[in-house]
Symmetry: C2
Subunit: 406 residues, 2 copies
């Protein structure tokens, strides 16, 4: 049953909204979170709505496996927000009427006139099709309703039907005594609502890969905390880049804060350069980063570390080096880009707006030796780490960790 009464019960605020002005409605469809147990599903739905609300002045009606969003914001604003909320599989602006053939036909006619006026459908050059779905008992079949609406559109606009490959689609969804009409299904980002999967520490460098790795973790619902190991004086300008990256990532983390921490890492690098064989600098650098992230994870109650590793992308990202640099870290390390090509990573970076920031020249890292180890021996690495007393210097460096975004 879907009645005004249920709507009232479901969401009194939504009803209030309808009273004060032009109200726009949207179906918001979600995917995987729909197949979970009732309890998890309801938690995820709640988080999804909360996240949308963090970016948009709106209310919701929860309609079994689908959310109806109600807002007075204009369509462009709504799309701009929904396009960056993880957990949405697709969404549609909907028009609503009572389940009555003439009323439905009237609604289709008036909304279609508007869309033709806006240039979104041209009956002179484009074909159309009507698709109808029905829930409940009615004195017509879905096919009859689609046929009826189709004939009205042909009569009114002289439009041509093409059922198999139409340029324009009219969707009719009959639910008991309510009927919804919509004209497009806009693909969402997919994934899960940010904040429903616990916290991860994402190492972020200022380069192309690491912000993309953080984005990928947001996608699967993780709350992201960024940790930048500031190499100064071996690197420069990276802090500013990282702060800009955080701004871009926050656009996809509505409803969940993204903290940014920085650690004065140059001191550790200086120490490593002095104490360890030069070719080991990069392996020991990465090893220290993971362990610094682990310390922050403890403080922030995060349960995993994330980095932008992709096998073989640079000569030093070999399996041997990854193995040696991860050995002393006890938390899981996720590398969502591990199997992606550089071009695939760059494509994502361009879409989310981090690419332009990443390519700002920062001079690279001056601590990289002339001949970095490409196949670190684990046993040897363990010996060096013990000999240079890595733990102690990391403890010292860890004291410098601080938020840089407040």
């Amino acid at each position: 049953m879907f009645s005004m009464e249920k709507m009232l019960n479901d969401n009194i605020n939504a009803f209030k909204l309808t009273m004060i002005g032009d109200l726009m409605k949207y179906f918001v469809r979600y995917g995987e979170i729909g197949i979970k147990s009732r309890k998890i599903r309801s938690k995820f739905e709640k988080k999804l709505m909360e996240n949308i609300k963090a970016g948009l002045d709106c209310e919701f009606i929860n309609d079994n496996g689908r959310i109806i969003l109600l807002t007075q914001e204009d369509d462009n604003t709504v799309r701009e927000v929904l396009d960056r909320v993880f957990g949405i599989v697709s969404y549609s602006q909907i028009y609503e009427t009572v389940t009555d053939k003439d009323k439905i036909a009237h609604l289709v006619n008036t909304t279609l006139s508007d869309l033709i006026g806006q240039g979104k459908f041209n009956p002179e050059t484009q074909t159309f099709a009507v698709k109808c779905r029905r829930v409940g008992e009615h004195d017509f079949s879905s096919q009859e309703m689609a046929g009826y609406v189709g004939s009205v559109v042909i009569e009114q606009f002289d439009a041509k039907v093409n059922l198999s490959n139409p340029d324009f689609r009219i969707y009719i969804e009959v639910r008991e005594d309510k009927t919804y009409v919509y004209f497009d299904k806009i693909k969402g980002l997919g994934g899960m609502p940010v904040g429903c999967q616990g916290k991860v520490i994402c190492l972020i460098s200022g380069g192309i890969d690491s912000p993309v790795a953080a984005f990928q973790m947001l996608k699967r619902g993780c709350s992201v905390i960024l940790l930048h190991c500031d190499n100064a004086p071996y690197g420069r300008g990276t802090v500013e880049k990282v702060l800009k990256h955080a701004e871009k990532l926050r656009r996809y983390s509505l409803g969940e804060e993204i903290k940014v921490y920085s650690i004065k890492y140059g001191k550790y690098l200086e120490y490593v350069q002095k104490q360890a064989p030069p070719r080991m600098t990069c392996v020991l650098c990465k090893s220290g980063m993971y362990q610094s992230a682990e310390r922050l994870a403890k403080k922030e109650k995060a349960t995993a570390i994330v980095d932008g590793s992709s096998i073989g992308q640079v000569a030093s990202q070999t399996l041997d080096n990854i193995n040696a640099s991860r050995y002393h870290c006890n938390l899981p390390i996720f590398s969502p880009l591990i199997s992606l090509d550089k071009l695939e990573i760059e494509d994502i970076a361009k879409k989310i707006g981090t690419y332009e920031i990443s390519i700002i020249p920062d001079g690279g890292c001056a601590a990289v030796p002339k001949y970095p180890e490409t196949h670190a021996d684990l046993k040897l690495t363990k010996n060096i780490i013990e000999k240079i007393n890595q733990k102690e210097i990391l403890n010292e460096v860890s004291d410098s960790i601080q938020r840089i975004d407040i």
Copy 2:
């Protein structure tokens, strides 16, 4: 300089091939491996050619950042093989002549006639464009050559030019005294040549995710060894599915063997069920799998473990559970699907042909408790693992490990 003499020097076998019959030639373009140091690049190029040769009777000329493949196999066979070799960015069947305007025009005319006959270009309904690139000193510019060939095609076939958005493209590549003509650029799989990045142990279950995870590691050049933890009597039919998965994966691992190991894991599960709290079965199962994989890795000299984890895909794939189940494994664990949605994973599975095998009903795992732990506490897990003497039972079970594909 590109002359018959250089061709001879480059590859005497290739020259021999040209002597015995109809020779087809292809540009094979590779991406990332082109940007590595000379030494690494040459190693990767060698492996790429070796892998192609494992599937195709052919020879190669290495032409600075591009490989020219020579074969007497027919075009369909060539495409079928090149479409499943990692490391190839794109490829094109090429036609070759000397750098002479009339000879080039003649070559374009004859090959175009063939393609029109095969229905690959229809000058009556389709537009075309000529693109020319040039290396070396010539008495014409690239634009002049393109214009000349274009005018000949217009005259000969009455075809229409559309420079900005043509239906059909004619590529002319002038290299000193040789000129190559081709008509399409077919996208390859990308990635890196399998076998250039060391070995990984991929846990494989018979389900949808794990073969896709293995495929993703092949993509970045890893040699893959499959390990199946056979849950019988808690599971059944999975060994057959895994062997079929291996067959599909081998198609993408030309030049590198894929071994399949199985371990009698039911015994371990039975023990866990008896000794540990029921809700911990799944976490302890996964923990034992990683450690079994680590044992095999030692034997096989592999340096990483791979699984099909995707955060939150099932209630038990939480960060807490991942953390608890990975703690006792000392090798890096890669989860290339960690940030992918189920639908994205299924899309890849369908493309590589493993999906149909994965969905064969196998009854699932009968050891899964009614209420599996979804937020395993690490400390508690460590205690249980110690208490049940996990190491000892894993040692016992490890003795059952054996190749099942020979």
